[in-house]
C-alpha cells in the first residue's frame, strides 16, 4: 500500500525535527515549516519516514494512504 507523508498544518509548530530525521523526504521552508513531497514514500525510506512521524514533537506528521 503506497503511503505519503502528510502534515497537519494547524498542529505543526516548526520544530524541524522531521527534516533532520528524514532529509530525503522533508525540507524546511524559510520559516522553518516542512515541505513534504506528495509522492509516495519509497519502500527503502519507509523506516526513515516512520521515525520522522513518531518523533514529531507536535504529533503533526502522519503517514497516510495515497488518495
Amino acid at each position: 500500500m503506497a503511503k505519503q507523508l502528510r502534515v497537519d498544518p494547524t498542529a505543526c509548530t516548526g520544530h524541524g525535527l522531521c527534516a533532520e530525521l528524514a532529509p530525503e523526504l522533508v525540507t524546511l521552508d524559510e520559516w522553518g515549516y516542512p515541505l513534504v513531497t506528495n509522492r509516495p514514500v519509497p519502500r527503502a525510506l519507509d523506516r526513515t519516514a516512520r521515525r520522522a512521524v513518531t518523533n514529531c514533537p507536535a504529533l503533526a506528521l502522519a503517514l497516510a494512504r495515497v488518495p
Binding site: 502528510r6 497537519d8 498544518p9 494547524t10 498542529a11 505543526c12 509548530t13 516548526g14 521552508d29 524559510e30 520559516w31 522553518g32 515549516y33 502522519a62 497516510a64
Partner: protein, 442 residues
Amino acid sequence: MTGCLTLPFPAPVPAAGDYVLTGPDGGLHRLLPADGAAQVDLTAHLARYGALPHRAEPRRIIAEVEAAGLTGRGGAAFPAYRKLTAAANARPTPVVVGNGAEGEPASSKDRSLLWISPHLVLDGLQIAAATTGSRTAVLYAPRNERLHQRLALAIAERAAVRMDTAAVELRDAPGRFLAGEESALASHLTGLPALPGYRPARGLPRLGSGQPVLVQNVETLAHLALIARYGARWFRTAGTEEEPGSMLATLHHADGRMGVVEVPLGIPVAQLLGPREPVQAVLIGGYHGAWLPADQAATLPLANAALGPLGATVGAGVVAVLPADRCGLGETARVARYLALESAGQCGPCFNGLPRIAAALDHLARPRPDRRARADLDRWAGLVEGRGACHHPDGSVRFIRSALRVFAAETALHEQGRCSGTNPQPFLPLPSSPPLAHTDWS
C-alpha cells in the same frame, strides 16, 4: 427593468428606501421582491410562494435538487444534492445549518436576503432538515442586533402557527473573514472559537460531540425552498445548461454605488456594469477571487465555465469595478493586508507568508520599489499555496497573483517612479477597524 438594492457599506443591513430600480436588464425576482426592500413577513411570503410542500419524500427532494443542478451559493459551487445525500446517509443524524456568516467584506447578498426574505431561507432550512431527518437546525447569521431581532421575529412567526418540524436556533457568526468556513462554523457551534480545522478526510464537518453538520449557504437554502415548490424544470428556466438557476450578486460600481441584484447565471458581465463606467479592471468573486482587465471582463458571462480558464470564479457573486482613477496595486495591497490580518494564525506558512506577501505588495504599490520585492512575493506566494488547513492562503494568493497579471503595466510605471492613480481615496470595501483580538473569533 429590475431592482437593485443599494446598501451603504458597512451598513450591516439594508435600510428602507435603499432600493433603486437601476438593476441590469434580464434580472430576476425569485428570491427578493420586485417592489422594494420592504421586509417580507410570513403572510406576504405565503401569499407569494404558497405553502411549503412538507410531506415530500426526502429521496425525491434530493433527486429534484440533483435534476435542478443547484450548486452552493456561498462561493464553492459544490453540488447541493451531494451534500444533502451525504447528510441523509450520515450517522448520527446531522444538525443542519443555514450559513449566513458572509465574512467577505465586499458581499452583502446573504444579509440582504436574510433581512428581506428570511422565510425563504427558513423554508429551505426545514427542507434540508427533512431530507436528513434532523429535528434541530441552526441559522448562523452575522452578529448584528437589528438583523437578529428580525430573524428571531420570523422564527417566532412560524413557531406560532407550528408550521415547522425542526426547531431553529439562531446563532451569532463572529465578524471574521473565515467565520463561515465550514470547519470554523462547526468549531463555533461546539462552543470553541470559529477557527478552521484540519480535515484530511473529506466529508461533513463534525461538532466536538461527533455529530455531523450539514452546512448550506442561506441563498442555497432559499433556492432549495423554491425547487421544493416549483421543481427542477422551473429552476432551470434561468441560467445556463451547465450552471442553472439564478444567483444574488453584489455589485460595486465605479461611482461608489453598490447594490444587490438577482441575475441568471451566465448573464453577460457587461450587463452588470454601467454603460459608460470609467473602469480599468473588474474584480470577480471577491477577495478570494480574481481581477480581470475591464475589456476582457466585458466579453464574459458570469459563469464558472467561462471564468475558470482565466483563473477566476463566480464565487459568492461579488462584482467590483476598479475606477480608472485608482491604482490597482494600491487597492490590492490594502486588501492583501486585510487578508493577512484575517489569517487564523494556525498554519505556519499562512501566518508567516501572508503578512510578508502583503508587505511586498505594499512596496510594489509605491514608487520605485526595490527589485527584490517582486521576486520575494512570487516565492512566498508559492510557499503558502496549498499549505493551509483551509483555503485562505490559496484564495488570497489567487487574488494577489491576478492583480500582478492585470496591473502589470502599473507595476512597470511604479518602477519608473510613476503611478496612474490620481485618486488616493480607498475604493474596495473593508471593515473600518480589523478585529485583532483573539477573542473576536468566538
